[in-house]
């Protein structure tokens, strides 16, 4: 004994809880499975196809950008795959694949990698990509013409032209029965197929402790109260327009939400308020995506203002400077 030992030099702590970033990413992807299955039931093969396109684009983009920036690809953290899935699910099933692919490219390439890589990105990549293609729509018409001959479509998308419940609400049309609406509806984005499935996935994430109640609850409660005060149907508002997807899967994104629970509640409430304003006063759709992105920009400020006391400290001190952006990390790692 003694001679055949190979003891590593190491520093404390010598134990680890065993969590990994990749496990969390995997679990979020799993949590999206129920809603994906419901969507497959409605839109058939269009759903897996779009997801496949986005996931492949995401992986390719990550490798491309990291290589270009002189870093090692980091596909094993699972974040590129998840971003691909999230982007795909935020589109409607009839979306041309090149549009979804372009959104994914922007999400992973620009919103994530260019801004410093996972951990340094300030905006939720999936939402950033999704919203970019809306803002750039006029230019993307060009893409539509270019790629028209490569379009792919499978049976099952005949119903997608149906108005989404939110627009129906806006236009004063009779709404679908609440129960059906809760369990499964066609219309809007792929991820809007089933409120129930989204909630199930959200509960799974809560159970797995990857997210906590603070953001979803404060966000949903604010929308509920806000729309009720303004004389609308609060429950329909909760169940539609990607609000649940946003509340459980987008706003809770670790990287782009505040670090303390108090900050997270402020964040959720602010998103809720912006969503209500968007929906009631402006366009009926996409309010959630814009609201979350706007609040992403305020996260450093929220972090600074909610700085808590150290144990044994008289009064919390304000810290002048906080999180640097990805710009100064690009040089290291």
């Amino acid at each position: 004994m003694g001679t055949d030992l190979n003891l590593q030099a190491a520093s404390s702590p010598h134990l680890h809880a065993g969590d990994q970033v990749s496990t969390a990413m995997r679990d979020v992807t799993i949590a999206l499975l129920p809603v994906t299955l419901v969507a497959c039931y409605f839109f058939k093969f269009n759903v897996p196809f779009l997801i496949m396109v986005c996931v492949l684009t995401a992986m390719f983009t990550e490798v491309l950008f990291r290589r270009a920036m002189g870093k090692k690809p980091q596909l094993h953290d699972g974040s590129a795959i998840l971003t691909g899935v999230l982007v795909a699910l935020s589109f409607s099933a009839a979306t041309p694949w090149w549009l979804a692919s372009a959104a994914t490219f922007i999400a992973v390439g620009f919103a994530k990698e260019y801004l410093g890589g996972l951990g340094w990105n300030r905006f939720n990549p999936a939402l950033f990509g999704r919203v970019s293609v809306i803002l750039f729509a006029p230019w993307l018409v060009y893409l539509n013409n270019e790629f028209f001959y490569w379009r792919v479509s499978f049976p099952g998308i005949d119903t997608v032209t149906q108005a989404t419940p939110l627009t129906m609400l806006q236009m004063g049309l009779p709404l679908p029965n609440m129960g059906t609406f809760f369990i499964a509806t066609q219309g809007g984005g792929i991820a809007e197929s089933s409120a129930l499935a989204l909630i199930l996935g959200g509960l799974y994430l809560l159970y797995k402790k990857h997210i906590t109640w603070h953001i979803p609850v404060s966000m949903l409660a604010t929308v509920f109260i806000g729309t009720a005060l303004l004389g609308q149907h609060p429950v329909y508002h909760l169940l539609s327009g990607g609000l649940l997807l946003g509340a459980f899967y987008m706003a809770t994104d670790w990287v782009t939400s505040p670090i303390t629970k108090k900050g997270q509640i402020i964040f959720g409430v602010c998103i809720g308020i912006i969503v209500v304003v968007f929906r009631v006063l402006l366009a009926p759709t996409e309010g959630v995506a814009f609201a979350i992105l706007i609040m992403n920009a305020f996260v450093p400020l929220i972090d600074r203002l909610t700085r808590r006391k150290k144990f044994g400290e008289e009064k919390a001190q304000l810290i002048k400077q906080t999180v640097s952006t990805g710009a100064n990390v690009a040089v290291k790692s």
Binding site: Q8, S11, V21, W254, G312
Partner: protein
Amino acid sequence: MAKTFERGMDIPHYKEQTEHLPVQELPQPTELIIPLKQHIGAPNRRLVSVGERVKAGQKIGDSDAAISAPVHTGLSGTVREIGSRITMTGQLEDCVVIDVDPEQEPASYTADDVSQLSTEEIRRRIREAGIVGMGGAGFPTHVKVNPPTTIDYLILNGCECEPFLTCDHRLMLEEAEEMIAGARILSKVLGGAKVIFGIEENKMDAIEVIKKKLAKEPGMEVVPLKVKYPQGAEKQLIYAATGRVVPLGKLPAEVNVVVQNVATVKAVWDAVKYRRPLTERIVTLTGPGAVQPGNYRVVIGTPLSHLLNCTGGIRSDVVRIVMGGPMTGFAQTTLDAPLVKGCGGVLALTSDLVRSSPEYLACVRCGKCVDHCPMGLYPNYIGMYGELGRYNLAKEWGALDCFECGICAYVCPSHRPIVDFVRHVKRA
């Protein structure tokens, strides 16, 4: 509801392996390597020279400085060498190496009537015995029980919140009487401070034993504490047991509290009653790679290799040997370091357990370290700025208030070596 502190976290405690094993004597080693400094404070000068014969219990190092504690040899023998040797922290320290006599003449101690002793004499005896905090901190005890303020509470730390370790648990079960007697002495020295035994609820048998013994003891009570790491950290324990908050950068005496580890208090009893120096302690040998896990009574200065040789060695899949606890202890690269006053455990860990982060990721802001940091710091920012070399910002977020409990690096899903970053910042 058991009392506790804020934040911190439940860590699997892996104590089943040794918590029911009574303390065993370890066979005597052939050599002792005794570091001259086993305390926080001024270094000792040696009192012996090479070739000199030493008796069991003889003082071999001391200092005139106020904050210091002498060291003694637990066994008789001949001084072979005095020089730098590797110690448990990985640092080289001046050590007295003694060839131990195979035939030992046990040192004889006579019992004194403690009630006749003045507080001055008690403190003197504690100092002379070389008693330091045995929970790992190593602060000289005679200094700690001579605080500048009046003391309301003497808290005996029986939390043993580090996973794997069971030495204090066994001590509380097997030597409760002596420990309580030691507490009585310290309470008297501290002007009649109330005594609180703070014990985590995963040691119910110890809580019962001590409760029973304290039934007719006024001014002493057991406070069961929630099982949560780091319950045994001084400030956290004070808060849990008394509700008092030690201000940042201040000592417990500031809120009129003194904390002592249970093993230290037992040693105080030996020192005051018998004038017996601190030359042995209980060490838990454990971990999945230990062949004969157990709680062993070892002579201070016993080389780690002797402990392992006497207990069947370690399994071949051991990748890390830690001296101390798994959250704050030191990984060994050799088996040469001696067991010292502040070392309560030797862990043989396998690769499925150990943390290693050769390829850590950027912080993904999951918030887990922030949620659990017992000091209420922002380990994420400390780590981030520490890594970027922006030490002032790391300090603003609390690097200097970190006591290196290890929770942040333990929970981090990006496997960031946050405590290493903290150490960098502290050194900068």
